[in-house]
């Protein structure tokens, strides 16, 4: 089966959308910086830039070879008469990619940004204590192995995408803009990293209290949210064209749904925090906004605007309680809220597609086969396909990520020394603070 081709107009639109995606990465990086301590701000931005660089290079070396594209060469297992496409077999180093005029080069361009986005997410949970080189090594493994493998199953015509064709389970596992492939993948990596690193010093006291360590710059956090919106519209629109065979005319609905889900989630989060704490909380509202974007990613092309509002509202509600639950009950110190925002909201988004998804047009997601549109728009068993995808993330991706990172931690410890944490990551690892002019020189106040 050949790799699908796009018309020139669709290619141009797709390129435009793909070039918006780095703004999502910039938004997430700013949020991670703002939600961390001021003495680690420069380090966080440096780690974000390094993660993007390492992820892009690792994906170039072998990631794309194992992820592949719909209709590309792959290794297939035969189980009870059905083929299970489990890993791609493209050549390493992007060879034979740009000469065939197919959508493969667009997929490669899109994915090199997406893998960077996934790599940024764990940085939020490891803020203020994750060493720079360790985060780069972890990112390399994510981009070279874990991400491509799952992305192949979902976006490369792998077995999860084939569930509809081979077993009659809905349209197969669908994930338009990467709620599972990018966000939950990143969120579960964030959980593994937070478990391995342990909490920041002073976060949990012996009497059971967990004092809040507020982020140092809410302006960066909120500006990051706005950048993320633009990036997410590109992410969802490009994903819909490349992985579900969507038309460029559908981008308007995708943009509307993305904006509505984020808006509903942010307002819900602001309302809940206002009711509970007396005033709306800026960082939790920002988390709600991004959670709405994350939840919209799976289903943005297959739901109505009203349903997008419902999906966003639920995401905003879940995130508030999830952040609290992880921090206070499970004693997981996640300064950026990455586990709740990307992991939990992403899982909700994937399941919401099974609940609300309407398939009025054929869906292209398996090796060039176009599944017919469903009767009355409802695909029987779509909820099951989505549940199988979520089960794969929790049952396969989480243990794999945890074990790989734990092994890495044995050879190269993730956590900075006690002195480094006290001093701040900026001074300890980079040798200079992000805000040198903020340092108060006590000798200036001594009487002369």
């Amino acid at each position: 089966m050949p790799v699908p081709r796009l018309t020139e107009a669709t290619t141009a639109a797709c390129l435009f959308f793909i070039f918006l995606v780095p703004l999502a990465a910039a938004g997430l990086a700013l949020m991670n910086v703002g939600l961390g301590r001021s003495r680690s701000a420069g380090h966080m931005m440096m780690a974000s830039l390094s993660a993007l660089a390492v992820a892009g290079l690792a994906y170039f070396v072998c990631g794309f070879a194992w992820q592949g594209v719909i209709g590309g060469p792959a290794h297939v297992l035969n189980l009870s008469g059905k083929s299970w496409n489990w890993i791609a077999a493209e050549p390493f180093f992007f060879r034979k990619l740009f000469s065939d005029g197919s959508a493969a080069s667009l997929v490669a361009l899109f994915q090199i940004f997406c893998v960077g986005l996934a790599a940024l997410i764990p940085l939020g949970s490891g803020a203020d204590r994750w060493r720079l080189r360790a985060s780069c090594l972890s990112t390399g493994l994510l981009a070279a192995w874990t991400y491509p493998l799952f992305a192949h199953w979902v976006w490369g015509g792998g077995w999860l995408a084939q569930l509809g064709v081979h077993y009659g389970i809905g349209r197969g596992f669908l994930d338009v803009g990467g709620a599972g492939t990018i966000q939950v993948m990143g969120g579960l990596s964030a959980l593994a990293v937070a478990w391995i690193l342990g909490p920041r010093r002073g976060k949990y006291s012996a009497d059971g209290m967990a004092p809040a360590i507020p982020g140092h710059n809410s302006v960066l956090v909120l500006f990051g949210c706005m950048l993320a919106l633009v990036g997410w519209i590109g992410l969802n629109s490009a994903g819909a064209i490349l992985f579900t065979g969507g038309e460029t005319s559908g981008a308007a609905l995708i943009g509307i749904n993305t904006m509505l889900a984020a808006s509903a989630a942010a307002l819900t989060a602001a309302f809940i925090t206002k009711v509970r704490f007396g005033k709306p909380d800026a960082s939790l509202t920002a988390n709600g906004w991004v959670g709405g974007l994350v939840a919209s990613s799976a289903s943005c092309a297959f739901v109505s605007p009203a349903e997008a509002v419902v999906i966003g509202s639920v995401a905003g509600t879940i995130i508030i309680f999830s952040v609290e639950w992880f921090e206070l009950r499970m004693e997981v110190d996640d300064p950026g809220g990455a586990i709740s925002v990307h992991g939990v909201a992403g899982i909700w988004g994937l399941l919401a597609l099974g609940v609300f998804g309407q398939f009025q047009r054929p869906v292209l997601n398996v090796a060039g086969d176009s599944l017919p549109s469903a009767v009355n728009g409802i695909a029987a068993g779509q909820w099951l396909a989505q549940l199988i995808g979520v089960a794969t993330l929790l049952g396969f991706v989480l243990p794999l990520t945890y074990c790989v990172n734990r092994l890495l931690n044995r050879f190269y410890p993730f956590r900075v020394s006690v002195e480094g944490e006290r001093q701040g990551m900026d001074l300890h690892e980079l040798g200079a603070g992000a805000y040198p002019e903020f340092i108060t020189h006590t000798d200036e106040f001594l009487p002369r």
């Binding site: 189980l79 009870s80 059905k82 569930l163 077993y167 389970i169 478990w195 342990g198 909490p199 002073g202 949990y204 006291s205 012996a206 059971g208 499970m330 004693e331 997981v332 068993g381 099951l384 549940l387 199988i388 979520v390 089960a391 794969t392 929790l394 049952g395 396969f396 989480l398 243990p399 945890y402 074990c403």
Partner: protein, 59 residues
Amino acid sequence: MKVVGFLLLPAGWFLVLAAIVLFAAPPLRDAFVLTGVAVEALGLILAFRSHLIPREEKG
């Protein structure tokens, strides 16, 4: 507890895979998949509990 939790996660996933391969009829297949997810949930609970910080290490 940590090891058991992390073993239950893939065990639940294998149940899900087995359900897809072995059962074609929706009710039985769906029930088996849900059972696999329940096993994963159990594994997740154990994994979380095993990462709770001991009292002496707090502070």
